[in-house]
Amino acid sequence: MFSSYLKKRGIVGINSRNLDYIFAKNNRKYYPFADSKLITKKLADEVGVNTPKLIAEISWQYELRHLNDTLEQHKQFVIKPDHGSGGGGIIVVTDTLPVGFKKGSNDVISKQDIIFHCQNVLSGMYSLGGQSDTVIIEDLVKFDPVFEEISFQGVPDVRIVVMEGRPIMGMLRLPTKRSDGKANLHLGGIGVGIDMKTGQTTHAVQFNKYIERHPETGHVFKDRQVPMWDEMLAIAVKMQEASKLGYIGVDIVLDRERGPLVLEINARPGISIQIANNCGLGEAIQQ
């Protein structure tokens, strides 16, 4: 209604994403495959795709008493709500110190903070609709240093949008100081477009604005090669087919030792990826 330019570029707005892609291609019945990280994990196992190692899952309040024993064996871990969305409720612990736990942002939090956070997760603070949730504790990915120059404290990941067996668009998501070590764009992470054929990075965007260099490290984003790009594309397609959802975003992280790991899949992938690639989704589908 407002801009013929947007239409000409084949840009998909939120309304169109919902009506023409998500409602049209994703059967509601299969949403749990994407909404629950535990189910996604199971799915990935079935089709031979690697995911980060699960340390523990906590479904009940009383289990938090044993949390200490579990965490003692691991210096690095990630706490996630099973049904979290948009990066909400994720705590990345990069080191266990005598005084507490060091987060991705270098802040130190206490054991009490961790338990309180788990309680919040269990009572459904981060789950869609607020129903009670499960806490997942996973191994921290030993991410490949290839993107170290352009990320700040946290795990960079690759988001690939797949529609009906075809990878449509890819984006490298980089954490910043602003995003507290998370790669989600709306939290202040940086999205870098990826050339689908070559796996080379193109434009970078933060808060819907183009930037050239990482605000913390100062390195340029452009023209970097995403390693194992073809494998990543293959994994993304595999996950899409396994989930029976027609239009999803697959988040993949590159582990130094284990190679590409699927973090999660998303039945409602965001539309900012278009800005990072400077290309409308509609146009990309046409190609």
Partner: protein, 523 residues
């Protein structure tokens, strides 16, 4: 895909056709007014009395029941007096409610509600007042009065003589007597004592009776053309034989303004609310304009001519249900506005329908106070929540604690506002409490988990939308339209359906993707 869109359009078209069809029939054939009536001649009245003393036993109260008269008709009168025994009696032409209770514990409230319709312009013609006050007529006087009674006779005679000289008819005569009594307080005092009268009006009535002027005491309140609190006043009515009507005169030196617009609740000297033990009490009268009275009358008249239309008219519901339905009908409109602002404009809000609820809570307070009140409560809520978070409480009990603190705050505000006549009687602010708590929880979650900018936009968006909804929807015109033409809901539903298939861009997405244009040009 396209099929869905087309089906949606067809359903919407049918709904619009039905809605507009009924609307057109009502406006053209039945000539229902599209705009609310300007000539207000109907009011909702609420009288409340609160007992202030405690621990008194075996008390009986009497409350005067409002009655029809030649100018005003009373309908829908309801008495709310929980825990009281109620019976009706009649005493010298006045209907009285008798309320009794074993023990008064203080704070009991008795509420009386009714509707008034103006049906004529004349002042009530009743039989001229009875002869029981004519004990000071010359022929009825004692032949051997004692010293004090003699003084009373002489005083009355001198007042009457003086008034006779200075007046031309019963009205000006009465005014002169009032003036004379007002001028000399000692005389007034003496007469009141000697006549064993309760009020100065009864003194007046007796003096004037001695001059063979028909006069009576009337009590009532002004039917103002605004929603307000009014006082019950007492005045004198003088029978004007020549014009065959009763003229109203203020019984004190100061004139009461607009005395002709007063509704006479009862005649005589009794108080509206009497009790056997003279307990302290405080009473209030509120009036609220009823803008749809002409339409209501029309609908009642149609009862026989068009029973079906009468049956489906919401105006035939009991008054309290009408209030509920009026609000209920506005909710879909508010929701439609929200759909539009979210899907087409791209305004961010906290909670989907929260702005409608916020707008509704503004109704209780008014817009300016509402926004201030909201800001106050939200900051208090966030402040408490920020502190409570440090105590590491579980989520649900923590929410409950925040809710409780907000309730305390709201009650404090209500107590402070109690004396400001903020609202019509007992409007329960239950609704806003829950709304505000939910709002605070959502807001603080967003603050915690996303960034403050997002929370800020959400908060501003919510308040702006609430204001827009309050202004556009919660006004007399829209309320009238939806209430008189509820079939317009079909049109609202149609609009919602069509909006639901809108796959175009949001206005805000134009800015969101504006950068792409720049880069494309650079390349």
């Amino acid at each position: 895909m396209m099929a869905r869109t087309w089906i949606t359009f067809i359903i919407s078209a049918i709904l619009v056709f039905i809605g507009i069809g009924i609307f057109a029939y009502k406006t053209t054939v039945l000539s229902y007014p599209v705009l609310p009536g300007k000539d207000v001649d109907s009011w909702y009245v609420e009288f409340s009395v609160e007992l202030e003393e405690r621990n008194r036993n075996g008390v009986e109260f009497s409350l005067i029941k409002p009655q029809d008269n030649a100018s005003y008709a009373i309908t829908n009168d309801q008495l709310f007096a929980p825990d009281f025994g109620i019976r009706e009696t009649k005493s010298s032409g006045t209907n009285i409610y008798k309320l009794s209770k074993r023990t008064i514990s203080g704070g009991e409230t008795v509420l009386l509600r009714y509707n008034i319709y103006k049906i004529g312009n004349q002042i009530e013609i009743q039989q001229p007042s009875s002869g029981k006050n004519d004990q000071y007529l010359k022929k009825n006087r004692l032949s051997n009065p004692d010293e004090k009674t003699k003084i009373v006779y002489e005083t009355i005679d001198s007042i009457l003589e003086d008034a006779e000289k200075k007046s031309s008819g019963p009205v000006s005569f009465t005014k002169q007597v009032i003036k004379a009594l007002g001028a000399d307080e000692d005389v007034a005092q003496l007469l009141t004592e000697e006549m064993n009268a309760n009020t100065k009006e009864s003194v007046l009535v007796r003096i004037l009776a001695a001059a063979k002027i028909d006069v009576r005491t009337a009590n009532g309140f002004e039917l103002k053309h605004e929603n307000s609190s009014v006082d019950i006043k007492r005045w004198i009515e003088v029978y004007n034989k020549g014009a065959d009507r009763w003229d109203r005169i203020s019984s004190s030196k100061k004139d009461i303004e607009n005395l002709d617009d007063y509704y006479v609740w009862w005649f005589g000297d009794r108080d509206i609310f009497n009790n056997s033990l003279e307990l302290k009490n405080s009473s209030k009268v509120f009036i609220k304009l009823n803008n749809d009275s002409s339409l209501m009358r029309q609908i009642w008249l149609e009862k026989n001519a068009n029973p079906f239309v009468h049956f489906i008219s919401l105006q035939t519901l009991p008054l309290e249900q009408q209030f509920v339905v009026q609000i209920l009908l506005l909710l879909p409109l508010g929701a439609l506005l929200i759909s539009f602002f979210r899907q087409v404009i791209g305004v961010q809000t906290i909670g989907t329908f929260m702005p409608v609820l916020i707008a509704l809570s503004f109704r209780e307070t008014g817009l300016i106070y509402g926004i201030l009140f909201f800001f106050g409560i939200i900051s208090l809520g966030l402040f408490t929540r920020a502190y409570i978070t440090k105590l590491y409480l579980l989520m649900v009990p923590r929410l409950s604690a925040v809710l409780s603190i907000i309730v305390v705050f709201i009650i404090l505000v209500m107590l402070l506002a109690k004396n400001q006549n903020f609202s019509l009687g007992i409007s329960v602010a239950l609704f806003p409490v829950v709304i505000i708590t939910m709002f605070i929880e959502r807001l603080s979650t967003i603050l915690d988990e996303k960034n403050p900018t997002e929370a800020f936009y959400g908060f501003i968006g919510s308040m702006a939308l609430a204001t827009i909804i309050y202004v556009c929807i919660l006004n007399d015109y829209v309320m009238h339209c939806m209430f008189v033409f509820p079939e317009l809901l079909f049109v609202v539903i149609a609009c919602c359906l069509i909006l639901g298939r809108y796959n175009g861009y949001k206005l805000t997405e134009y800015w969101r993707f504006k950068q792409m244009k720049k880069v494309a040009q650079d390349v």
